[in-house]
Amino acid sequence: MSSLLSVKNMSINFDTPRGSLEAVRGVDIEIPAGMSVGVVGESGSGKTVMCRAAMGLLQGSNVKRSGTVVFDGHELTAMSKEEVRNLFGSGMAMIFQDPMTALNPVRRIGSQLSEGLRVRLGMSKADALARSKELLELVRIPNAEAVLKSFPYQLSGGMRQRVMIAIAIACNPKLLFADEPTTALDVTVQAQILQLLRELREDLKMSMVLVTHDLGVVAGNTDYVAVMYAGEIVEYAPTTKLFADMRMPYTEALLESIPKIDHKSGTRLAVIAGRLPDPTDRGAGCSFAPRCKYVQEKCHKEHPELKQDPDGHVYRCWFPIGVSL
């Protein structure tokens, strides 16, 4: 199976006043063409940074990156900014975590939506607006005509997220990064948005990277799952396999932390006792050791290597669940 996106040994460091912050550490990930890959992990585990770095969207003089990214035969890490830019829209696109902050507050939806069509596909203004209206209808926005003329602050959160999806799919991308597309939304709206993404993926034959806090979201929406912890991918497997036969203690803790459906708060943020390690000061051993219930001597001393089962299931743990040593 060919992979559409292939990330090799990617590390991202930020220079901060407190020292170098390792947001992503030696990540390898393959996104097979036509598949949907979930990326799960707690807040701060580096999911957003990884996706933005893979797409080449991390800006700023304080960013240090290493590793290679190959998308659809192009080695992004060896290309100029302009060349990478030409892949945006029709190659890769991204849906952002918070639809309030990711839409420009002072520009009308119509201009934000049609802009990509005009710049990337060279459409005329009238054509781009007509297409924009179709796109809004495609993401099931009623009254598209009026929404085109509105400003983001005039729309509800769910509507804004639909607009953002419309912007992302405007130029028919091959790969869509969806960075926690539902975290900022109400539970009922979350389900609708996920449903919409599933259908769009079918119709447009897109591959997708679906970032989430929530293993529950991963279950029905992805073919593969990557579990991230403290900047590393600590487990990678086909989704069904991961749920049937997980190896990582961290993944197990995440699963156990899924709140019950009738949970009152309505949000489904993972809660595991303890906190992520300080990203500016990674210890020598396993990053999860202070919180792991299977922890042993060795875990504190040596960083676990990546292991692979014969069936391709990858994990990073000295004492994996269900494997007799």
Binding site: P105, V106, R107
Partner: protein
């Protein structure tokens, strides 16, 4: 709160400002422990002074005096300037001086914004790098040079040494646009320099903050070029502080350009005020200050309207406030 009541409130606020300024000046005049009629008519008979007191309302209390002045003012009677040989209308002086000051202010703002906006955009885009450091440091250095020193340097070089520009006086547009501009160039540059530094700094700070926003990354992920993102996506939401600051500086440019107006003998409103103070022409002073306050309030309203177009969220805030 509806849109109409927002504007109603805003206008009411500005009217209160106008009232406080004019009444304050009026009250200060009355608090001067001298006989204003004697000051205005130093060599007149007592009868003439009694007539003047009645005419100007000096014989009334502070409120009565203010109301009388206000009544005259709104009817376009701004009072007189008193000489030993007779009187001149303050309004005649202001009609002469106002266009000079307004044009000086408009050109200064245009020049300052035309330079500061590109500099601010560039230094925000390159923040922390060389271009930004060069811009910030040179503007800081320039800002510490007072306007009159810049004026004198310009006069020495452009006016005297190379004799490219006239060093004194004002030419109305009717003398020909080029002649008019030649007289304006040096005063305008002298007044702009400080503003350019301030405007650039404000815009740079707001743009740097805006550049960290998700909508900028979002714009980049659509495949837009950096310059398109800067000019079309980031500049507008970052320009509110700049606009407010520009509005606030307008009053000062109209009435406060005394030094520059004196150096170049372009005698605008600032100079009128200076002359009124040094000649103890208190009625002229009071009316001129009122006119400046009027313009100040007017420009504030203009910025209120404009900010609704620059940032639609402000319109909504007005309604929800």
């Amino acid at each position: 709160m509806s849109k109409i009541s927002f504007w109603f409130q805003r206008v009411a606020q500005l009217l209160i400002v106008l009232f406080l300024v004019t009444f304050g000046v009026s009250l200060l005049l009355r608090l001067i422990p001298v006989d204003l009629a004697t000051i205005l008519l130093p060599v007149a008979s007592e009868e003439e002074r009694i007539l003047l007191r009645a005419e100007l309302g000096f014989d009334k209390g502070p409120i009565g005096y203010y109301l009388q002045w206000l009544g005259d003012f709104v009817q376009g009677d701004f009072g007189k300037i008193y000489f030993s040989g007779g009187t001149e209308e303050v309004s005649d002086h202001l009609i002469e001086a106002m266009p000079r000051s307004l044009l000086l202010m408009v050109y200064t703002q245009i020049l300052a914004l035309a330079v500061a906006i590109p500099l601010g955009v560039l230094s925000a885009y390159r923040s922390g790098r060389r271009a930004d450091k060069i811009i910030s440091n040179s503007l800081f250095a320039l800002q510490s040079v007072p306007g009159f020193a810049i004026a004198l340097i310009l006069v020495i070089f452009l006016g005297v040494k190379f004799a490219w520009l006239p060093t004194l006086g004002y030419a109305p547009i009717s003398d020909g646009i080029w002649e008019h501009l030649k007289h304006m160039i040096m005063p305008v540059i002298s007044l702009s320099v400080g503003l350019i530094a301030t405007y650039t700094r404000l815009l740079r700070a707001d743009m740097i903050a805006a550049l960290r926003e998700d909508y900028v990354t979002m714009a980049a992920s659509k495949g837009l070029s950096d310059s398109r993102i800067l000019w079309r996506h980031v500049l507008r939401p970052s320009s509110m502080t700049l606009m407010t600051s520009a509005a606030l500086s307008m009053g000062g440019l109209i009435g406060g350009a005394i030094v520059i107006e004196s150096i170049f003998a372009t005698y605008g409103v600032g100079f009128e005020i200076f002359a009124a103070i040094s000649g103890r022409q208190y009625i002229a002073l009071q009316s001129s200050v009122a006119v400046i306050a009027l313009f100040y309030v007017f420009f504030n309203l203009v910025v209120d309207v404009a900010s609704g177009f620059v940032d639609p969220r402000t319109r909504d805030r007005r309604v929800n406030a």
